[in-house]
Structure formats: C-alpha cells, structure tokens
Amino acid sequence: MNERRARALIWLFAAAVAVSLAASLMIGSVRLDPIAAVTGLLQPADRSLSSAILALRLPRALTAIAVGGLLALSGSVLQALLRNPLADPYVLGISGGAACATMLAIAVGAGAFATHCAGVAGALAALAVLFLLARRALFGTEHLSGESPSSSMLLVGVMMASFAAAALSLALSLAPAGRLRPMVFWLLGDLSGALDPAAAWISLAVLAVCGWAGARDAAALNLMMRGDLQAFTQGVHVDHVRRRLVIVASIATGWAVALAGAIGFVGFVAPHLARFAVGNDQRRTLPASVLIGAALLAAGDLAARTLAAPAQLPVGVLTVMIGVPLFLWQLRRQ
C-alpha cells in the first residue's frame, strides 16, 4: 500500500465526516441553507429559527459522529487484537453489561441522564467481570509459548454476551407495556434522544482520548496481530498492550452503547472498509476506521430522521441496510 495514497484516503474520509456533519445540520423538516447554518452556529444565543433548529441538530449530529467513531475504533482494535475479522465491539460482552443496566434504568422509568450513567456503570461492571474471569489470559505469562489468550478472552466475552442477551429478553418480557417501545428502539440503536450538547462534546472528548490511546499502541498491535510470542521477541510488552487495548475498546464500546444503544454493524464494517482502503497497518487502519465509522453513522442518522419523516427510524436498522451492500460491493471488488 502506497503511503501517500493511504494518507490521501484518510483525508478523504475526514472530508466525508465534515460533509455528513454539514448535511445533518442543513437537512431536515426545515431546510437550512449554508449561510443560515453558519450564522446559526456562530450566534447560538440568537433567537432566530435557524439557531433553534441547530440547537436540536448539532448535538445529535456530533453524538452520531462520536458514537460511530467509538464503535469503529473498538471494532478495529478488537479485530486486530483477537486476530479475527469477525470480531465486533460487542464480542467481549461489554455492551451486554451496558445494555442490561440501561434497560433496567428505562424499565424503572429513570431520566435520560440517569440512564446514561447506568449504561456506563454497566459497561464498567462488565469490564471488571471480564478481567476477573479472563485474568489468566490477561495477566499470565505462560501463554507466550502456549495457547493464545485471545481465545479464552473471546470465550468469556461470548458467554457474557449470551447471558446479557437472556437478561435483556427477561427485562423486555417483564417490563410494563408502556415502556416497551422506548426499550425496543434503544435495543435497535437510536440517537433521537441525543439532545444534550454537553453529552455530545464529552463523547467527542472520549473519542479523542480513546483514539489517542489506541494510536499509541498501533505499532505494537501490528506486531501482536502476527502472534504474541513473535511480538514479544520483537520487543512488545504484549501483556501491557493487550490490557490497555481491552480497556480502550471497552470504554469506547460502553460509552457508545450507553449513549445510543446497541447500534449494530458500524463497529464491524468500518474496520473492514478501512482495511480495504488503506491496508492492514494499524497506524493507518485505526484513524481510517474511526473516520469511516463516524461518517457512516452520521449519514445513517441523517437518513433515519429524514427518510420516513415525520416518523423516525431506528438508526441501527439503517446502518445495517447501508453497510451490508457497501461491504458486499467492496468484498466483490477485492
């Protein structure tokens, strides 16, 4: 892969994020022209219609970008770490913890902020359980000459995800009928509740921190993809890198799920599209993947709130419907 071409493509993906952000601000039940959008952004205290509309659209668009980027980052890291192209952000069961806690919060009728907090707490609890159950894989040293710790970590994660899925079904079947619709929408992945500008900016900050942490270990991840023993002999502290990346991926997934529900497919397909475009050097794959995920989810959310307007579709359904044909088309081109 030509380095200059890869760099140009990454700039192109960044431009795609900017375009989908601009489109998300301008398109809707009321269309804004670019000038109105810019003046509305520059003068948020202005009581004009455009600034009122932007106050609704901006947090949602930024949240979509942050959530898409976080899911793509997590998927990209986990696919490389587990050496498995089928891995996605939900494979370690972290999202299951977040989902259970969120469902519980919705079922008892908690507010939006409390629901987010419950989701984050659930993700952290699931991460703690993962570290406890897979501690031999995450803290042992014997694996260097034996079995890969990834598979035992994967098994623990899949078991936790299965348990969480059962718990979710239980919550759904016991929930009062009036709360079923928001619960189902949340399960499908939904950004219509993302109206809080503070939460949106914090999410972007979480994305920046997680992205920075992932990028620091990208070169080491390149080596670990090719085997733990090999990476160790080449100078990578494999235990430390693995633990750091599991934590980064878990926080990214947990935050995204707590905010927007279990949005499927973005975290799986964005790393694949990134690899198709810029190859498998993680120093390029990670940023490309984050940008593709952000653009995909922002575009998906724009479609979700405009295609069937005034009704809103769950964005999780649309990401799959956009992502699958895109993925299959790329797969055929390879």
Binding site: M1, A80, R83, N84, P85, T141, E142, L144, S145, A219, A220, N222, L223, M225, R226, G227, L229, Q230, A231, F232, T233, Q234, G235, V236, H237, R275, G279, N280, D281
Partner: protein
C-alpha cells in the same frame, strides 16, 4: 577468556509434571552455531523459549552477552536475540516487506528500516517477494520470510526452531549454508534432520527429554552410538567423500 555469548547455568525445565532437563550448563561462545537434537517432546522448543526469555525456567540462570535474561526488559531482550518459530500467523493480508519491517519495531521510527528489511529478504533469496501478499506465499517461502524477519531484527543471537521444516532439500542446505556464512551471529537452532545438523553445527546439544543431556563440539557429541541411545533406534554412520552420513539402520 571472553565471556560467553550465551551462558546457561544449572538450568532445569519442566513441562507439566515432567522434568525435561535438569542441571543443564552450557557456554556458547560468540559466533558458534549450536544445534539442539532430541526426540519429539524432549523440550527443545521449551529450551529455546527459555533462552528467548519467554518462558521462566524451573531453576538456573540464563545470560545473554553477560546479562541475566530474567532481569532484562522486553526491549533489551529484543536487542539481544531474535526467534524464528514455526507458528507464524497472518490473520490479515499484508505485504512481505511490511511483515519483515515488524522486526524493526525496536528501532522506533528510523529511516534505514526499509533497506535493512530488503537486505534481509535478499539474504534469504526472497527479494523478489517483497511486494507480494504473505498469505499467498508457499509454506517454504513463508518460512524464509520468517527467517528474514529475524535477520532484520539485527541481534547478536539468533534462535531458530526448526527453521527449515518446510524447505525442499536444496533450499534446506542453501538456507543453512547462508546462515552459517554469516558467522558474526551466534545461533542456537533446533533441527530434526541429523545430516543437516552435522552440516550446519559447530556444537551440538543432545536432549533426551528425561533429564539426560550431552553437549559439546559436534565431532564429540554427534556420534552414531549417542544418537542411537537418544532416539532408541539403530543409527549408523557412513562416509561419503569427506562427509559423514547418518542413516537409520535396517533392524531398528
């Protein structure tokens, strides 16, 4: 006398409940080529793992260039030794050059890495493969790329676990001769082919896997009676020209 490049003192290795070797002490001088010979499961790979610092021995100490392996950081070890094993993984497609370049990780961002990687590739007769996808290589080619990767790490010690298991007879001899010609590196290799070992080694370590071991110069250690005891099969030696050829006797 100079300090040995690799010093092993009173080493004991165990796999599960089985004592593989006890009281192993060898001194490997710089530039020597040691071959470890022994039956399946006798602890040859375990020994290489211990020498590489990837496996903690039950007892004893290992020093590379005078430094105890257990006290070295991962980065320091990477500057001392490279390891070739036969379990390379290629989960995602990547070019051969990028794969060899992983060995330059310890140098950080350096401009010369590409040249070093290409030089290592051409030393293993793989220069023409640089832009190919590793996943499309034959097993023999992939193995030579793995050796080139270890060479590109540019370490004084090279540890090889069956480095020629996928080579045809011509390439097996060629690869070993190439490694032998590069005699500033100290090599410890596991080889199953006794005749390849005889051709390559300056010194030999026989490991029985039941605690018993013998080490020394090739001519003293790699003998038909010792090999017969080691493998529990009748191994004979004949001379063809100037070369000794080991073969398994008819009544084994």
């Amino acid at each position: 006398m100079n300090a040995p490049m690799i010093g092993v003192e009173d080493l004991a290795l165990r796999a599960g409940e089985r004592d593989l070797v006890t009281g192993l002490s060898i001194q490997v001088a710089a530039g020597e080529r040691w071959v470890v010979v022994g039956p399946n499961g006798s602890g040859k790979s375990t020994l290489l793992g211990a020498l590489a610092g990837a496996r903690r021995p039950l007892a004893g100490t290992i020093r590379i260039a005078g430094r105890p392996v257990e006290g070295c950081s991962v980065g320091e070890l990477a500057a001392l030794r490279a390891l070739v094993n036969d379990r390379w993984l290629d989960p995602f497609s990547a070019s051969v050059l990028d794969t060899v370049l992983t060995a330059r990780y310890r140098f950080g961002a350096e401009p010369g890495g590409r040249d070093a990687a290409l030089a290592a590739l051409s030393r293993m007769d793989c220069a023409g493969l640089a832009s190919r996808d590793v996943r499309g290589l034959s097993r023999g080619e992939r193995q030579r790329v793995a050796i080139a990767t270890a060479l590109a790490q540019d370490t004084p010690v090279l540890l090889l676990d069956e480095p020629t298991s996928h080579q045809d007879p011509g390439h097996q001899a060629w690869v070993l001769d190439r490694l032998a010609a590069h005699n500033e590196q100290t090599v410890v290799a596991v080889l199953h082919d006794i005749n390849a070992a005889a051709r390559f080694a300056t010194h030999v370590l026989l490991l029985s896997g039941a605690g018993w071991w013998r080490a020394g110069a090739r001519r003293d250690v790699l003998t038909a009676p010792a090999l017969s005891t080691l493998f529990g099969a009748r191994i004979d030696v004949t001379t063809a020209g100037h070369t000794e050829v080991f073969w398994i006797g008819p009544d084994s």
